[in-house]
């Protein structure tokens, strides 16, 4: 069904555009987006009360139509009709934060000058009222000569006024789109004077509204206490991933175990039983078990994003990151890369300087992403005893923290190397908003987590499952010759290939089972765990295959385990990340270079780790 009205949501970063978009479209989103910053436009469809079909675009936040970064340029190009193959919207909905109108109104005036119909959605009116800010919308409407509707994007019914307005909206007979032109200083000052005049006429605010923010910022931005808070927050995050997720993980494990036993009991031994038990359940099940940990990690990242804390952390780290040639702005993309490098790489669009952006993209994969978590968790669970350290910390959580920190340290070294080798960059501005604090919205947190869970389960159900079945196939055929003594997998395609690969990987301590598991791990890293599950399930000579964790604990040396951990700190990228880098940099040069340098680093790090551990254990 085609839409009869095309609207675009335009607004400053942080004014609640995405929340409003989610409220308008519900779960009927056409394009799935990665959570976090909206860096590419998102489209959705919805129907108003009178049955009008509306297509809505959620645009990246912009302070101005005169762009200083790639994401702002996307926004400008769409609303000004400059994007090839895409018409300008019929109506611009200017989303404004009612608590911060002095900043927000300027973009409204700029949008009005484009000549398209404009409606102002006065968002966060509930927060404004609570803070004692009184906005006279009738006066605002009169001063700007644009309809004003109040919205509360975080309430279920918060967009009613906007929907009614859209219902009444009639398309103008002809488009009056005015070509966009870059402003000069006098223009901008004139607009700001106009904004201040309208603001003084229509808004009354008490002067003391920022007391709470000031009090928090006194601690959070403090050179010493601020860093302490940041370290504690990150540390808590990694502890939580290990200790809080245990109960639901045990539940999922018990579920897949009982499913496996049921299938094994219910089906006659043979090909089908082996495919289901060793391929599907051992493979996909061993990945699915990490869902609780991944959701916990996302819960922290989403909550931190929502609260307004992240730019503060970026502020604290700006000076330090400058010594390796980056800016505080790189912090947010790098932190989201802990969830997944793909949204991280896309979020680098907010970095205005191309060189900074490229270096940030290059080191983003060194941030341990959530797909690496299953690999870390499996090995740590099998080799590191689960005991308390100094009464409060969990040793497994500590090791995980160390792995994450090594990724960060490696990233800083690589960035420094790029700075050292590259041309000297001119001084870069930072110019970053530190938005007012707010409580993370429960609704959008839950929506974000459901979205992540859906993406993860879909991955397990599609690409991971398909790879597992493929892997089971090449691990089972050709079958063992009659009278063979070892397990059948040794004679299969995978077994043969594994022995070839083992030659290359033996110096870093990998056996042929690991070598095989590395290959599907390129498609999606958590598959490496599933692949180990399948390979070991098929290698078992005894009766029932034991659980993967205890199996590897028996068959790998500590040096091999540490070496594999080191490998995965650097592990060459999954193909999806490389494809994203190719798209964002518009060249194959950078993704190829990235894969090559990460592969070399991974091999060297594993080699060093393996031999250091051997030496230490032997001596």
């Amino acid at each position: 069904m085609t839409a009869s009205l095309h609207i675009a949501l335009l607004g400053n970063p942080n004014c609640g555009k995405t929340a409003l978009f989610n409220l308008l479209t519900g779960s009927r989103q056409k394009v799935a987006n990665y959570p976090g910053v909206t860096v590419e436009r998102k489209a959705g469809l919805f129907t108003t009360a009178s049955g009008k079909r509306v297509r809505v675009l959620d645009l990246p936040g912009a302070y101005s139509l005169n762009p200083v970064s790639v994401d702002e340029a996307v926004t400008r190009d769409i609303v000004a009709g400059l994007r090839a193959g895409e018409q300008a919207p019929d109506l611009i909905v200017c989303v404004t934060d009612a608590t911060n109108l002095k900043l927000n109104l300027r973009l409204v005036i700029e949008a009005k000058r484009l000549g398209l119909p404009v409606v102002i959605a006065l968002n966060m009116t509930d927060v404004a009222r609570r803070r004692g800010i009184r906005v006279d919308s009738a006066r605002l409407e009169q001063e700007l000569d644009v309809p004003v509707v109040e919205t509360v994007a975080v309430h279920r019914d918060g967009a009613r006024a906007l929907l009614e307005r859209l219902d009444m909206f009639a398309l103008p007979r002809e488009s009056n789109l005015v070509p966009w032109s870059a402003p000069n200083v006098d223009d901008v000052l004139a607009v700001q004077r106009e904004v201040r005049r309208i603001f003084a006429a229509a808004v009354q605010e008490p002067p003391a509204e920022m007391r709470v923010d000031d009090a928090i910022d006194r601690v959070v931005l403090h050179p010493f206490w601020g860093l302490a808070v940041l370290a504690a927050t990150l540390f808590l995050m990694f502890q939580a991933v290990f200790s809080w997720a245990q109960v639901p993980m045990d539940g999922i494990k018990a579920g897949t175990d009982s499913l496996r036993d049921t299938v094994r009991a219910g089906l006659p031994p043979g090909m089908l039983q082996s495919l289901l038990v060793d391929g599907v359940i051992a493979g996909a099940g061993s990945v699915l078990v990490f869902l609780p940990q991944i959701l916990l990690l996302f819960l922290f990242i989403l909550a931190l994003e929502d609260s307004g804390y992240l730019p503060r952390a970026a502020f604290l780290l700006d000076r330090t990151m400058r010594t390796v040639g980056l800016s505080g702005r790189s912090f947010i993309p790098l932190l989201s890369s802990h969830a997944c490098a793909i949204p991280g790489v896309m979020a680098t669009r907010t970095i205005s300087n191309w060189r900074d952006r490229l270096v940030t993209i290059m080191i983003a994969p060194l941030m341990a992403c959530s797909a690496r978590l299953p690999v870390y968790a499996l090995i740590i669970g099998a080799f590191v005893p689960n005991r308390a350290v100094w009464g409060v910390f969990n040793l497994q959580g500590l090791v995980l923290f160390v792995l994450y920190v090594s990724g960060v340290v490696a990233a800083m070294c690589v960035a420094w190397a790029f700075k050292y080798l590259g041309r000297k960059a001119p001084r870069q501005p930072l110019l970053m908003e530190l938005p007012s604090y707010r409580w993370p919205n429960l609704r959008s947190l839950v929506l974000g987590l459901i979205e992540r869970a859906r993406i993860f389960v879909e991955r397990v159900g599609t690409i991971i499952l398909a790879l597992m079945v493929l892997l089971w196939f090449i691990s089972s055929f050709p079958a063992a010759p009659a009278g063979a003594s070892g397990p059948a997998i040794q004679y299969s395609l995978a077994g043969i290939a594994g022995r070839w690969l083992e030659v290359a990987f033996a110096p870093i301590g990998f056996n042929w089972q690991i070598s095989i598991a590395l290959i599907p791990g390129l498609a999606a890293r958590e598959v490496a765990v599933g692949a180990l599950g399948t390979v070991y399930a098929l290698s078992a000579t005894g009766e029932a295959a034991a659980q993967l964790g205890p199996t590897i604990a028996q068959s790998w040396s500590l040096a091999t385990a540490f070496s594999l951990l080191a490998w995965y700190v650097f592990a060459p990228q999954c193909l999806a990340t490389l494809a994203t880098v190719r798209r964002e940099t518009n060249s194959w040069r950078y993704p190829l270079f990235m894969a090559a340098y990460l592969f070399v680093l991974a091999y060297l790090a594993s080699f060093a780790t393996y031999h250091a551990t051997l030496f230490w254990m032997g001596g």
């Binding site: 302070y63 200083v68 900043l103 200083v185 003084a200 002067p207 003391a208 000076r319 908003e433």
Partner: protein, 120 residues
Amino acid sequence: MLVETLKARFIRYARSAKSLPVPEPEPIAASSASSFSLCELELGVTATVASICSPEPEQDRDLVLRLIELGFVPGERLRVIAHGQPGNDPIAVRLGGTAFALRRLEAGCIRVTRVPVISS
């Protein structure tokens, strides 16, 4: 219960506070003799933006435009809320209902004047 009490107290507080006079916008060049760089403003002291200038006009044109767009307009009140370390760089500045982090490079483009202390 607690939330209601806090809310009532906050509203009472907000109403009791007198509203500040709306600053009159001034032309960009109106930098008085007593103005100085934002880099030199002490922590926690409120000042008024006097002018936005740029050491190398062509190169920093977009930067100056963006500073004005974000609200660093002559007449606006601002206050430094934090200094990054080492070297007091970057600077966090409270401006109206929000705050911005600026490196010394950007802060150097903003000249401010002190607000006379009014005893109440």
